[in-house]
């Protein structure tokens, strides 16, 4: 064989090996966390392992539409995960445990299913805070039962209108945080039964009590959480008419998973928070249960691993603002 022929063959062989090996090598050396809409697999991988106190560097990429990344119960800025573009993020966990990461963009009908876990091992470098039992469990509430209010106001209760009446009443007992969290507005309304007020005035006083158990900052935080996580289904104004509401109704049972056939899930229309019958009969503890655990079998996701306790109370406080007028 001529030297030129040999050289050409060697060069071609080298080129082909290079063209195959280089991308495969670098592809193998670049572990990415891929995001796809839940119907196409969600996060991949969806289980990540980390060491407490050591930085965890993640490289995220979307394989389809715009997604977002956040870790539940951690104070970090959410990041966008763009199609075909790698986003870098570094996390450090103070204490071991199982953390939930999730999509923060309304990427599709099953957006809320886009979740994964980060398993953090090692010694804790932060002060351990004992976890408390949720109030709805302590109160032994049946959060799946109906808790409708038998009476509803004829007009939207106003904390502004009720301020004057409330100042002249002894309502300290029913204004405490414990009472507020464990009672529905209707139950508070009943507590005012013996007072010489019209029904409308009583509802105004109830709205004053509910307002006194929150703050502008809490409402603002709740509003932000609602807009990011709830409005897609429940609607920007809480009326159960979010952008996915029609799709959820249309998808029906077929869109839902079953667990080995043991539990059929049936899609339900998202709850309307502007409905006074439902909201005035629901206590904050009841709503806490719904948010923490999710509406089993209804399509409502569980948020217990995502929101902190404070965030859940802030969110609940904001939900009542769909019933009560807190400011002009």
């Amino acid at each position: 064989m001529k030297r030129t022929e040999l050289f050409s063959r060697t060069l071609i062989l080298f080129g082909i090996v290079l063209a195959v090996a280089m991308p495969l090598y670098f592809w193998n050396q670049t572990p990415l966390i891929h995001a796809r809409i839940a119907d196409d697999g969600g996060w991949n991988p969806d289980v990540i392992r980390a060491e407490a106190g050591k930085p965890l560097h993640l490289r995220l990429i979307s394989d389809d539409v715009m997604h977002g990344f956040a870790v539940g119960q951690m104070d970090i800025d959410t990041v966008d995960v763009e199609p075909g573009k790698v986003t870098d993020i570094t996390l450090t966990f103070d204490k071991p445990g199982i953390y939930t990461f999730y999509c923060t963009r309304w990427c599709g009908l099953n957006h809320w299913r886009m979740r994964g876990t980060i398993e953090v091992r090692g010694a804790s470098s932060a002060e351990e805070i004992p976890s408390s039992i949720p109030l709805y469990v302590t109160l032994d509430l049946d959060i799946d039962a109906l808790h409708d209010s038998p009476v509803i106001p004829s007009t939207r209760p106003s904390a502004i209108n009720g301020q004057q009446s409330a100042m002249n009443l002894d309502i300290a007992r029913i204004s405490t945080s414990d009472f507020y969290k464990s009672h529905s507005p209707y139950q508070a309304f009943e507590e005012l039964d013996s007072l010489p007020l019209t029904d409308s005035e009583k509802w105004d006083v109830v709205s004053v009590i509910w307002k006194s158990n929150t703050s502008t900052e809490s409402l603002s935080d709740g509003k932000k959480l609602f807009a990011q996580n709830c409005a897609a289904c429940h609607g920007e104004n809480g009326a159960g008419d979010g952008v996915f509401a029609d799709d959820l109704a249309a998808a029906g049972k077929d869109s839902m998973q079953t667990m080995n056939g043991a539990m059929k899930m049936s899609m339900q229309t998202p709850v309307d928070f502007t409905d006074p019958t439902r909201m005035l009969g629901s206590s904050p503890a009841l709503l806490q249960g719904k948010v923490l655990r999710g509406g089993m079998g209804t399509g409502m996701p569980m948020w217990g691993s995502i929101f902190t306790e404070d965030q859940i109370w802030n969110l609940i406080a904001y939900l009542y603002s769909f019933q009560f007028e807190y400011e002009k």
Partner: protein, 443 residues
């Protein structure tokens, strides 16, 4: 017609005679092709950030349809990497002089397949899946790999470049449009070829291989099936092969006589129009139907696609031909007059391609730095923002291309009509109607 013999330039001639410059280009192209396959298979599934989609369907397509075909005819075929591995295996060599013993089966392609019907079918098949193919790296990787393996397989069974000549979905339309290009490879003196012993340009010699495209250069009158591989320049013992610069459209003075080529003209014309409607138009229903392969909507789309291309367009054309008065057989009138659709089809594709190439060209800059979508930034351009280019020039350029194409096809129709002794008015009207539709679709 005036021609300038480019191979009189000693530098160009020696560059074409030598195998090394071509081999260098081949190796680069083959590496790029294999990389495109891998990028499609393992890179990000987001098409706009994957080398396979960006460099094949945007960069390569732009170069092919806007530069290579109009100005160099089969210039792309001269450097295409797809047939190379098969050809090298078939020859048992890369550079070495041909071994007289045939490698592998070395069969002649059956006569019934020695036409471009298979190329028409392969193009239509790809066209039906194009919405998915053009946007899904995985599919692009599979198709590119499939073409490479098909070319290797055919080289093992048949002689010469059977894949390029009879199956390549791209080669068919490059061939008919190459007739318009201002570059040609032709013999200088016919008598030399007639008296040449052994016809080494076709049969091969110690200087090189017989024409891989199964063409006898002495009989070349059109660019259609000459792959510009330059093998005959190397093998001709009489230095009787030239590469010429010539006027555009020179081959179209001799109208086509083949029905497979006539249908290729309709296929290309119709698919450019359907692509303009589906890929660039505002009709979401069409887009969804074209994308959801396998659904009943897609089958309807496929039916409509094939009906327009294989039925309506040639049907109306044939009806027009039937109204012409001539003693020339109807088939000959049909094939001759369809020659007028070649420049029109080419300019339809130019106008259509301008639209999506200028819109998507900025993806090339980002994909250069991060070809697999792995977060690399090789040249610091990975974060380049998508930005449509030359948007103000797009409309005028498309109008110019389409109107220019109509004028060009009108001139071609007049020449073709005079060859078969009929009036060209119906063909010109046909071209005018289609151009009007295309203008409406694009502007």
């Amino acid at each position: 017609m005036n021609r300038i013999e480019l191979t009189r330039n000693p530098f160009l001639k020696s560059a074409l005679k030598s195998r090394y410059p071509q081999l260098a280009v081949f190796i680069v192209m083959l590496i790029g092709y294999i990389f495109a396959i891998l990028a499609g298979l393992i890179g990000t599934p987001v098409g706009s950030h994957n080398f396979s989609i960006v460099f094949v369907w945007i960069a390569w397509w732009a170069i092919l349809i806007l530069v290579a075909v109009p100005f160099f005819g089969r210039g792309w075929c001269a450097v295409c990497p797809i047939p190379l591995p098969g050809e090298w295996l078939q020859r048992g060599a890369v550079l070495a002089p041909p071994d007289k013993k045939p490698k592998w089966l070395n069969l002649r392609v059956p006569k019934m397949f020695r036409n471009i019907w298979m190329q028409n079918i392969s193009f239509l098949l790809l066209a039906l899946f194009s919405s998915v193919l053009l946007t899904t790296p995985n599919m692009t990787g599979i198709v590119l790999a499939g073409m490479l393996f098909a070319a290797i397989g055919l080289s093992m069974i048949f002689e010469r470049r059977a894949f390029c000549r009879y199956l390549c979905p791209v080669g068919g339309f490059i061939g008919i449009y190459s007739q318009t290009a201002p570059i040609e490879l032709r013999i200088k003196e016919k008598q030399i070829c007639v008296t040449c012993e052994g016809k080494p340009c076709y049969n091969g010699s110690s200087a090189g291989y017989g024409c891989p495209w199964d063409v006898f250069p002495g009989g070349l009158t059109k660019n259609t099936y000459c792959g510009l591989c330059m093998e005959c320049i190397r093998t001709c013992p009489h230095d009787n092969i030239a590469v010429n610069l010539r006027p555009f459209s020179a081959d179209l003075a001799k109208p086509s006589t083949r029905i497979d080529e006539a249908f290729k003209a309709f296929i290309m014309l119709g698919s450019a129009m359907i692509y303009a409607a589906v890929l660039l138009g505002p009709w979401g229903t069409f887009k969804d139907a074209a994308y959801t392969v396998g659904t009943s909507a897609w089958f309807l789309y496929a039916l409509l696609f094939l009906t327009i291309i294989c039925g309506i367009l040639p049907g109306f054309f044939a009806l027009g031909i039937l109204r012409t008065n001539s003693h020339t057989p109807i088939k000959q009138r049909f094939t001759s007059l369809s020659t007028a659709l070649i420049p029109l089809g080419l300019m339809f594709w130019v106008a259509f391609s301008l639209s999506f190439v200028l819109t998507n060209a900025s993806y090339i800059i980002a994909a250069l730095s991060d070809p697999l979508g792995l977060g690399w930034n090789l040249f610091g351009t990975a974060n380049a923002v998508w930005q449509p280019m030359l948007t103000t020039l797009l409309g005028p350029a498309q109008t110019l291309a389409l109107v220019g194409g109509l004028i060009w096809s009108t001139r071609t129709a007049q020449k073709a009509a005079s060859e078969v002794n009929v009036s060209s008015i119906l063909v010109i009207t046909y071209c005018f109607i289609l151009t009007s539709i295309m203008l409406w679709l694009l502007l």
